[in-house]
């Protein structure tokens, strides 16, 4: 078993635990490289199917390539796709810095979708290596009634035993690829031939390392136009993955505030 096999087997284990122990779950599909790998892993876990809905909380501000990707693969992969809108910017905490405030629309959209469908578990494609607060996450992470994350009171989680009983009315976030790195995602995408959005590949000396909303996501300087070249680039770069995400850099704790409030 090589490294990617190990990561895959662990993710499948987590998927099966989530499906078996919770009543009503959905997978959050943001159309990016991580959630595409996640759908692939889920189909491995369930022998070709995604036996629960894929939820796209849509800000309406994604790149056109992303919408095309969603419409095409939603069909091809036979997903039970639910597209849920986000509230307008006025409805969001005005004390947040602009980019974070824009991103917080997604948190609100997520809350609305949760209320609408009554999911007790949401599968999300975050990874520990992306960002400091994500590194602190549990695999099965309980959320409060408001979708908030209490980082001071996380349940113990050891030996792959997960706490799967969400408090009444609350939900769990399940993180099946928490243990993957950015390089793992690319190596696996290549090995399994998982389709990607072309925005990740360099054009005119730039590419996106992380895809979010158009207005708050910027490309990074890069000449990597194939996955192999991306992997070489990742070996050498010292630029963090989310460097192109404006919301992470506005204030020291903007991202942490978002996450505690329920952001992914």
């Amino acid at each position: 078993m090589d490294h990617l096999d190990q990561l895959e087997a662990q993710s499948i284990y987590i998927f099966r635990e989530a499906f078996g122990r919770l009543k009503k779950i959905a997978l959050l599909w943001s159309l990016g490289k991580d959630s595409n790998v996640m759908i692939w892993l889920a189909r491995k876990a369930f022998f070709g199917r995604l036996p629960f809905p894929a939820l796209h909380v849509d800000t309406g501000k994604k790149f056109p390539e992303m919408y095309r990707f969603r419409d095409h693969y939603g069909k091809e992969w036979e997903l039970d796709l639910r597209v849920e809108p986000c509230p307008p910017i006025d409805a969001v905490d005005p004390t947040l810095p602009p980019a974070a405030r824009s991103a917080a629309r997604k948190t609100e959209g997520l809350k609305m979708a949760l209320g609408k469908f009554g999911f007790d578990g949401l599968i999300a494609g975050i990874r520990r290596d992306e960002e400091a607060t994500r590194a602190k996450e549990r695999v099965f992470s309980p959320r409060g009634l408001e979708g908030n994350w209490d980082v001071r009171d996380q349940p113990p989680e050891f030996w792959d035993h997960f706490n799967a009983s969400p408090p009444q009315g609350a939900h769990l976030r399940i993180h099946p690829i928490l243990h993957w790195t950015e390089a793992d995602i690319w190596a696996y995408t290549k090995r399994e031939n998982i389709p990607i959005i072309p925005l990740y590949l360099a054009k005119d000396g730039k590419r996106y390392r992380s895809l979010g909303d158009q207005d708050i996501t910027n490309p990074v300087a890069s000449t990597a136009s194939t996955i192999d070249e991306i992997l070489v680039e990742l070996e050498q770069t010292k630029v963090p993955e989310r460097a192109g995400r404006a919301l992470d850099h506005e204030t020291e704790d903007a991202f942490e505030r978002l996450r505690v409030a329920g952001y992914l």
Partner: protein, 638 residues
């Protein structure tokens, strides 16, 4: 963290593979864990551009001197309070290893986070302040490492600058901690004097520690061995789920140890049923050829239809785990309320979940003081040895034989409250798997359906004592029989007189009572009969078990007669006795009846006649496909 930029993935384009080792850094609060981690990241060139400058600027802005620990204590709250509150993971490289470093908080309050981190580690670094020396928390962490099975422990004596790099002070601490660990059966792989703040002994052996001849911290990490391969052990495939997405019936789970291949003869424990692996299924290509080893999440199909449940263990014939209802375990306890003899728990051993009772507390120890506190209860953050009895049999291994299946966690109110190692398994009367091959009936279910004009079903009547369950059950039985059906009454009390006469009224015994009722009823239903069960069955979880066993045949009827009416009726005089205190564990007085949340039918017998209620049950059985409305010509469909 966002500072991880050197990908630890060995899956580089040229395919090189470096061993990956997971280590945890533990120790008393303020002994310098985060500082050491920050320094290690710096020394191994693992920091992204600008990170150090950014943190220095933040420190300057706040008027604080820069600390290496700022690198790690990324959360605002942590910086404000100056402590690490949760475990985090960072990757970096030494010469020959990819290291996944798990930073675990030292604060006693956050012991559960330390355990969460340390349970995933192959090795550990235990840090001690040279000035303060060995503290309670140091000993406690040492003990927990031992309990979690972490064998490779490197000791780091930090802040040597505070004791003028005194070799004598170093020796003093080194002797004390070595003796403590050796007492637990752990030999330190190295004891290293360092100053994490200044860098002495971390990646370089500076002049100030010139008298020290052993490895630096980086060198010590470089020598750690990755986790032992589990493939050499006996096959253990705990069943996570059974999937029937198409015509395949796939048994899914992760191989915890050993390996398997299509054609293997296997035994399903604890029932001891034997079958052969037909295929190993996968996606996108299936079936998979070749042997599948430990760590793989697989799906297998069998050559015969057996009743298999989540939590069963697939093993090879001849090397199967023991079946037991009794375990001895060494555990650590994280819950506020101390664990005491007689406590009811939920125990998870892999995916297997079982209700359990603490039969005895044999030892209760504060690992900080290593003194045996008392034998009555295990307090929060303490460890102990307990004897537990399980409400249903499980298959388990002692930890010494299989580290993966020989461990368990304990849940209280849906949250993990403790965990530990299985010390011994009481094999009971059936240590050797019995070759059970179920014999199916000569008749097909549809042949019976054609005669009885109904499908097999389990009609489960639950409700308070004297709510009218037995009366209704008997009326229903008469009604169905008159119409040519085959109803069979299974009254809880009646079965307690025979089949279940070994069971009392503890929660565990009540669960077992319900499980047996459900098994018998399901057997009848599978053979085309309508089993009418009348049992108080107060626990929601037990009824959920019954529903799981009977599966689609299950119909739950809540006989929801108001409690006052039930007590007023009291045909067996139970309420009267209970009120007089002569009937312990009687459901009805008190609040231990858990009402069904989604019964197929709810009937209040205080408000209607028996015939009327039976009518309604009949209607429900029709609309849910048990009774046939019209005479169906089944023969035509065969």
């Amino acid at each position: 963290m966002n500072m991880i930029v050197t990908p630890a993935s060995p899956a580089t384009p040229n395919g090189t593979t470096r061993p990956q080792v997971r280590i945890v850094i533990v120790g008393h609060v303020d002994h310098g864990k985060s500082t050491l981690v920050g320094r290690l990241l710096h020394e191994t060139g693992s920091l992204p551009d600008g990170k150090l400058e950014m943190l220095k600027a933040v420190s300057a802005r706040r008027g604080m001197p820069f600390e290496w620990s700022f690198l790690l204590d990324a959360l605002q709250t942590e910086r404000d309070q100056g402590i690490t509150i949760d475990t985090t993971q960072i990757r970096f490289r030494t010469n020959s290893r990819d290291i996944v470093l798990i930073d675990a908080p030292g604060h006693a309050e956050f012991l559960r986070n330390m355990i969460t981190g340390a349970s995933q580690a192959d090795g550990a670094v235990l840090i001690i302040d040279a000035l303060e020396g060995v503290r309670d928390q140091t000993r406690r962490h040492g003990y927990l490492l031992h309990l979690l099975g972490v064998k490779q422990v490197a000791i780091v004596v930090n802040k040597m600058d505070r004791v003028d790099f005194s070799a004598d002070r170093f020796k003093e601490i080194s002797d004390e901690i070595s003796a403590h660990l050796q007492g637990l059966g752990v030999t330190p792989t190295a004891v290293i004097p360092i100053s994490a703040r200044d860098g002495d002994g971390v990646a370089e052996r500076t002049d100030r520690v010139g008298w020290y001849k052993g490895p630096t911290v980086v060198e010590a990490l470089d020598r750690l061995e990755p986790a032992r391969p589990l493939e050499a052990l006996a096959l253990r495939l705990p069943v996570q789920a059974i999937y029937k997405f198409d015509d395949r019936r796939i048994v899914a789970g992760r191989i915890e140890s050993g390996s398997l291949i299509a054609g293997d003869e296997i035994v399903i424990m604890p029932a001891g049923k034997i079958a052969r692996i037909k295929t190993v299924e996968s996606w996108p290509v299936t079936p998979v050829a070749g042997r599948q080893g430990a760590g793989r999440s697989v799906g297998i199909t069998l050559d015969r239809e057996l009743f298999i449940e989540r939590g069963d263990i697939v093993a090879h014939v001849g090397s199967a785990p023991s079946e037991t209802r009794r375990l001895r375990a060494r555990i650590f306890w994280l819950h506020d309320k101390p664990l005491a003899k007689g406590d009811q728990l939920l125990v998870r051993c892999g995916p297997k979940e079982s209700r359990a009772t603490v039969v005895a507390i044999e030892k209760a120890v504060d690992p900080g003081e290593l003194s045996s506190v008392e034998n009555k209860a295990i307090s929060r953050n303490h460890v102990g040895e307990i004897d537990i009895s399980l409400s249903s049999p499980i298959a388990a291994d002692p930890y010494t034989e299989n580290p993966r299946t020989g461990r368990l966690v304990i849940e209280v109110s849906g949250r993990i409250a403790g965990g530990g190692l299985v010390l011994s398994v009481d094999a009971g009367q059936r240590a050797v798997p019995v070759d059970i091959v179920p014999v199916e009936s000569a008749l097909r279910p549809d042949e019976r359906s054609a005669r009885y004009r109904h499908n097999g079903a389990v009609v489960w009547l639950t409700g308070l004592p004297a709510s009218g369950k037995s009366t209704l059950a008997k009326a229903l039985e008469r009604r169905l029989f008159t119409n040519g059906g085959s109803p069979i009454l299974l009254d809880g009390d009646t079965l307690r007189a025979g089949l279940n006469n070994d069971l009392g009224f503890s929660a565990a015994d009540r669960s077992e009572n319900i499980r047996r009722l459900a098994e018998v009823a399901t057997h009848l239903a599978r053979n085309g009969h309508i089993a009418i069960v009348a049992a108080v069955s107060p626990a929601r979880e037990d009824r959920a078990t019954a529903r799981r066993i009977a599966d689609t045949a299950f119909r739950e009827i809540h006989v929801a007669t108001p409690a006052e009416v039930c007590e007023d009726r009291d045909p067996k005089g139970h309420y009267k006795k209970a009120r007089a205190g002569a009937l312990a564990s009687f459901t009805g007085i008190g609040n231990d009846y858990e009402r069904p949340e989604a019964a197929e039918l709810v009937i209040d017998t205080s408000a209607r006649t028996v015939a009327d209620a039976a009518d309604e049950i009949e209607r429900m059985l029709k609309t849910t496909g048990v009774l046939f409305d019209e005479l169906v010509d089944l023969a035509a469909n065969i």
